[in-house]
């Protein structure tokens, strides 16, 4: 499950963000008539088609896997948190239809109608992302039912959808998708510019992707702060694990880095900022922050994994924010930096960072919620399928996903290598078909 999701989420993010990049390139083509923009739109749309299909099949697998792996969970949770899933179905459907129009609609429709279908792909992708995260948020912050003697009564699917956690999680996730995709795409095009290949083409692509990524990277820590305050309120155990915060105290320090020692209940080699955690979690340097000592042993999430994952996410978030700030500085004040190789190199280095941060972030929410599958209501161990031999299923899917990732990377590599031939006739006319 975690594997399928971790795989799916990468494709889903690209599927929801790339259409916006395409829409910008496409808009510029329609406005300026500059061929490069049309070719860029086409080149990107091929990539999107590949990612969309892979995202769609892995998503289809997920909707089955929920039942295949967690039948007990779905039997009880399905009717409660199913609302976002049913609406999500609608959003996907619209996305698939719009994509059909967009990919096959070149020269068939009014140019602006065609452009508009591309925008619809992006918007419905974003909406479906928000909806599915609302479903996940419900697992963190169950709402919309009364839990009486092991029975789920008075179900209210609307309340379940608008649970306490949905807003902060959906906001953070949507921005994350823009950060990750923006930096990944910008990084690839930056690399091609450094190699001096089809520079006119790649420079335009880079500018669009970097602008999206950089704006989002600056917003992300702000939204992360909203999330952290939210977690502190609704899942103190998760916050304590994220921060490896063992003892309840006032003026709690913010712990950066370090190796949690589970026996001694302390964190070694960490940088500590006094009062920092109290401030981040409750907006007050003197506030009391619940530590793991207040949580019964059997309800504690795995501390080390959660803590490391959280550090990775925040660390990468800060690095990307700095790159983003440098980039804006270059755009507005230091135009000469734009010609420098180091700026492009920074973007190349940052290519995978957003996606690593996304995987880390999900590890934080999911592992930080353990041992619960529905926070405070149902334990993960009680939700799993009774069928023995489930590991084989796991091995098969691992093999499938590995080979798919490999093929997709291979296809992308081929797309990029063919840019000169297929999409950029201007800079290297000799290579044109």
């Amino acid at each position: 499950m975690a594997l399928s999701l971790g795989f799916h989420i990468i494709f889903a993010c690209i599927g929801m963000v790339m259409p916006f990049f395409m829409a910008v390139a496409h808009y510029k083509w329609l406005r300026t008539g500059n061929e490069v923009y049309r070719n860029l739109t086409k080149a990107w749309s091929k990539g999107v088609a590949i990612f969309f299909a892979t995202g769609a099949v892995s998503g289809t697998v997920l909707s089955f896997e929920l039942g295949l792996l967690w039948p007990v969970f779905m039997e009880h949770a399905g009717p409660i948190f199913g609302m976002p899933f049913s609406l999500e179905g609608t959003a996907f459907f619209i996305e698939a239809i719009a994509l059909g129009f967009f990919l096959y609609g070149w020269n068939r429709f009014n140019a602006w109608f065609h452009w508009f279908t591309g925008v619809v792909v992006g918007i419905s992708g974003l909406v479906s992302g928000i909806l599915v995260v609302a479903a996940n948020a419900w697992m963190n912050s169950p709402a919309g039912f009364d839990y009486v003697n092991g029975e789920y009564l008075n179900i209210d699917p609307i309340k379940a959808m608008f649970n306490d956690a949905w807003f902060s999680q959906a906001l953070h996730m949507s921005i994350a998708a823009f950060v990750a995709t923006g930096f990944a795409v910008a990084g690839i095009h930056a690399l091609m510019m450094l190699k001096g290949k089809n520079v006119a083409f790649h420079a335009k692509a880079f500018r669009i992707a970097a602008a999206f990524g950089a704006v989002a990277a600056i917003l992300q820590p702000i939204s992360g702060d909203i999330s952290a305050k939210d977690v502190a309120r609704r899942q103190p155990a998760k916050l304590a694990a994220m921060e490896a915060h063992f003892h309840t105290e006032e003026k709690a320090p913010l712990i950066i880095g370090g190796i949690p020692d589970m026996q001694e209940k302390k964190v070694n080699y960490a940088i500590k900022i006094p009062g920092g955690l109290s401030f981040l979690a409750h907006g007050d340097f003197n506030a009391e922050v619940t530590g793991l000592d207040k949580i019964p042993e059997e309800n504690q999430p795995p501390v080390a994994v959660t803590h490391y994952a959280f550090q990775i996410m925040v660390g990468l978030g800060v690095v990307m924010m700095i790159i983003a700030l440098l980039y804006f500085l270059a755009l507005w004040k230091k135009k000469q930096w734009l010609q420098k190789r180091w700026l492009l190199r920074l973007f190349v280095i940052a290519t995978p960072m957003g996606f690593i941060a996304i995987e880390a972030g999900w590890t934080v929410t999911e592992v930080g919620r353990q041992p619960w599958i529905i926070n405070g209501i149902m334990r993960t161990a009680d939700a799993v399928t009774p069928m023995p031999g489930i590991v084989y299923s796991f091995y098969i899917f691992t093999a499938v996903y590995l080979s798919l990732s490999f093929i997709v990377a291979f296809l992308l590599y081929r797309q990029i290598r063919m840019v000169g031939k297929l999409y950029d006739h201007s800079s290297e006319p000799s290579k044109a078909i």
Partner: protein, 337 residues
């Protein structure tokens, strides 16, 4: 409201069978095409299904979502006892969807194409085979909630002659649907004849598999004959389907694309109707006489209500857009340069 949901469920299954089925069928036809004709088949197919293939498969997602939101215990039981065929079908879906896209969007056309093609073709056969097996297993009374050992709980729940026969039948139906659909899309007389021949072959195999299904049900004591013919409505449906066969044949021979499409859709609709109405509202029949019913095992009222509204509102957005998509790619205009 429950009935709104049930109608959507049934319609989603029907549309998946028709549209998704035609889509699988494209690969099945390729499977039964000699090597030298495959290129041509592939091109015609791609023009016809390219823009809509993604949308066709959404019906499966809708079906699953309706099941797990509205009828959670039915969904849970099926996921546990039919785990293996469901997984097989999923692998088929992954392989097929990705191979289809990869072969068209790979920037370099080289030997990788052969690999994509092979994967596409085989998974196009395997996926509907398991789809049919799963469907048959829900009514074959082999799901045993009291089973103690692995084999009887997780394997014999779906591995039996009847289920496999229905699986083969589904494969033929899919191939038939695809052939019928493609006939209207061809632009040369030679192509038209080629696909007409395929369609006829598929009808013949479907009828043979139908006989196989009845034989298997007889051997395994599944009262299929009684379900289908026990009540006037069933007899009517099957008779209508059978009577339309000669017309279909005539349409095929005389190249009436619209008529044969409508008739083919009608037949599948009738078959599904005959297969489901008799034990409605019980959609899963269990060993030892138990069953899971759409009415007794529905979710709580508020959930069903919300689901029904979500479906109704969703269809306001989806259906017009979907029709426009199908319509605009029907009028043939010059495609991408």
């Amino acid at each position: 409201m429950l009935y709104v949901v049930i109608v959507f469920l049934w319609t989603a299954i029907l549309l998946y069978l028709l549209l998704g089925g035609a889509d699988f069928g494209a690969g099945i036809i390729e499977f039964f095409t000699s090597r030298k004709n495959r290129g041509r088949t592939r091109r015609t197919m791609y023009q016809a299904i390219g823009p809509v293939w993604e949308a066709n498969h959404m019906w499966l997602i809708i079906t699953i979502v309706i099941l797990f939101v509205g009828f959670p215990s039915i969904y849970a039981t099926m996921s546990v006892y039919l785990h293996i065929p469901l997984t097989a079908m999923l692998l088929g879906i992954i392989a097929r969807g990705t191979a289809f896209v990869f072969r068209h969007y790979d920037a370099v056309k080289d030997d990788m194409q052969k690999l994509y093609n092979r994967i596409f073709i085989y998974s196009s056969v395997i996926t509907p085979l398991f789809l049919g097996i799963i469907a048959a297993s829900t009514v074959s009374r082999q799901i045993d909630l009291q089973a103690q050992d692995f084999l009887s709980a997780y394997v014999f729940s779906w591995l039996n002659g009847f289920s496999v026969a229905v699986g083969l039948f589904t494969v033929c139906i899919c191939g038939f649907l695809a052939a019928v659909f493609i006939i209207g899309e061809t632009d040369s007389e030679a192509d038209r004849q080629f696909f007409t021949r395929k369609a006829k072959w598929m009808i013949i195999s479907a009828v043979l598999c139908g006989v196989l299904v009845f034989t298997a049900s007889y051997i395994e004591n599944i009262p299929l004959v009684d379900w289908v013919f026990g009540k006037p409505a069933g007899i009517l449906a099957i008779t209508a389907a059978s009577l339309s066969l000669p017309f279909l044949w005539y349409g095929l021979t005389h190249g009436k694309a619209i008529i044969i499409r409508l008739l083919a859709g009608f037949q599948v609709c009738m078959i599904l109707f005959a297969a489901t109405y008799r034990h409605f509202p019980n959609i899963v029949l269990l060993k030892h006489g138990g069953y899971l019913s759409l009415i007794e095992h529905q979710g709580q009222e508020k959930t069903i209500e919300a689901l029904a509204w979500a479906l109704l509102i969703g269809s306001i957005f989806i259906l017009p857009a979907l029709f426009y998509l199908l319509y605009s790619f029907e009028k043939k205009k010059p495609g991408e340069a």
